[in-house]
Amino acid sequence: MTGNRRRQRVLVLFALVALLVASTITTGGRDEPAHAAGACGPNDAYRSTLQLYGGAGTLRPCLSKVNINVGIPQSGQSHFFDIQKIRIIEDNVTLRYADGSTESNLKHITFESFNVRDNMTLTVDGPGYDVRMAPDAAAVIGGEGVNTDLWVTGDSFVTVSSIILFFGLCTTASVNLFSNLSWLLNGSSWTGCGMNLDVRFMAVYRPTGSTTGLFPIKLPNTTISVL
């Protein structure tokens, strides 16, 4: 190879690298966001109005109509989560979604001080995609002094045990039965064996005092992926 040709090749390679770097770092901003006439339908008419438990406030979310599955598969009598109280707040809720459609017969429930020890996966089942949030082990979706309000389907269920009830055995209760069991669910702290919740909307909040500082969502050693 002549010196001239070697020099030529080095220069071509160098020019390509320079082009790569230049195309990778560009300046200026992104296009301005596409501002809609209304953020959620005409005059924001497609927002839901949702009351948080215990007078903690009113939310007016624009809802995605995407199911969020909170899954903790049961494994024998192993305990995977703890909840201080399970409350049924509203038994027949209708949500309005961002396209103006509605869904009825949903249940509004609240978990007080919800802590996950292990085995939980949140799977968002969107059209043509899934989002998976998978902590390796423990996670907090609420935690001490925090409420987790969930708007769920009636066939969602939790499997819980209590030292003083059911001989400590894991027992499953459908959310459809929560109204009948409210005296029981509200009256005891629960150790959980499993759950399968189909959630349309979830709000995690501190009912009193400052809204920040507690970090109610804690996902240590967690992978979030779009599939």
């Binding site: 220069l11 160098f14 690298v17 770097v21 195309s23 966001p33 809609a36 959620c40 240590p220």
Partner: protein, 234 residues
């Protein structure tokens, strides 16, 4: 000169002039970013990149699934990918590494951009209106903090177009994630997000506002050794 009279060879003068211009443009951009004169816009359209940082501390945080149009890298074609767009109205990073592998003349080359002061917990990289198009992200435990955390009132199940991050004159901007309107696009909204010991795969990252990148370094090396193969930047 060939016998046919056609001239072959390299016009070194013209080539060197073009290379010089390219280098001056790159140098100007790097200097401007370092001096916080301009915003930075890191774009990797055709393939994914590796992202790593010791920590992100962000306020007014949101995540939403959006459709991203991506260059397929051949014939000007494009396709559409669903990504989780993470938005931070204001953010500080404790070290940053972004890398991407490109094939040049059949040889794998890794472009790596790093910044940081090398000290854990100083959050020396600061910017506003940051967006990352995430394929996957993993936060882990470390001496500085643990995994992925959100503070304030967190909402799951919003339409991605309803997620709020940036403000103008004290009012939240509409649809800062530039998500599709309507149903089917999942979103999460929180007041604050602290992410620790982060490694991930992204399509692109944008810092919309003034941006400081101390000790910015850009390297191009043969092979495929990117941010995943390096210790977390700090």
């Amino acid at each position: 000169m060939a016998a046919s009279g056609v001239v072959y060879g390299t016009r070194w003068g013209r080539t060197n002039a073009l290379v010089l211009i390219a280098l001056l443009v790159i140098a100007g951009i790097v200097v401007a970013v370092k001096q916080q004169v301009i915003a930075a816009n890191l774009v990797f359209q055709s393939s994914t990149s590796q992202l790593a940082t010791s920590a992100i501390d962000g306020s007014d945080v949101g995540f939403g699934v959006v459709r991203m149009t991506r260059s397929t890298g051949s014939g000007g074609g494009t396709d559409v990918k669903n990504v989780l767009r993470g938005g931070f109205a204001n953010g500080k990073l404790d070290g940053l590494c972004v890398s991407q592998v490109q094939s040049i003349l059949g040889v794998n080359m890794t472009l790596k951009i790093t910044a940081g002061d090398g000290v854990l917990g100083t959050y020396e990289i600061q910017g506003s209106n940051a967006l990352f198009d995430i394929v996957s992200i993993r936060g882990t435990n470390g001496s500085n903090g643990s995994g992925i955390n959100m503070d304030g009132r967190a909402q799951f199940g919003l339409a991605a177009s309803d997620v709020t991050t940036t403000k103008t004159n004290g009012v939240f901007d509409i649809n800062p994630l530039e998500a599709d309107q309507g149903t089917g696009w999942f979103g999460i909204d929180a007041d604050k997000g602290n992410l620790y010991n982060i490694r991930g795969t992204i399509y692109d990252g944008v810092i919309g506002g003034p941006f400081s990148l101390p000790n910015l370094s850009i390297t191009v090396t043969p092979g495929t050794s990117g941010c995943d193969a390096s210790p977390l930047p700090k």
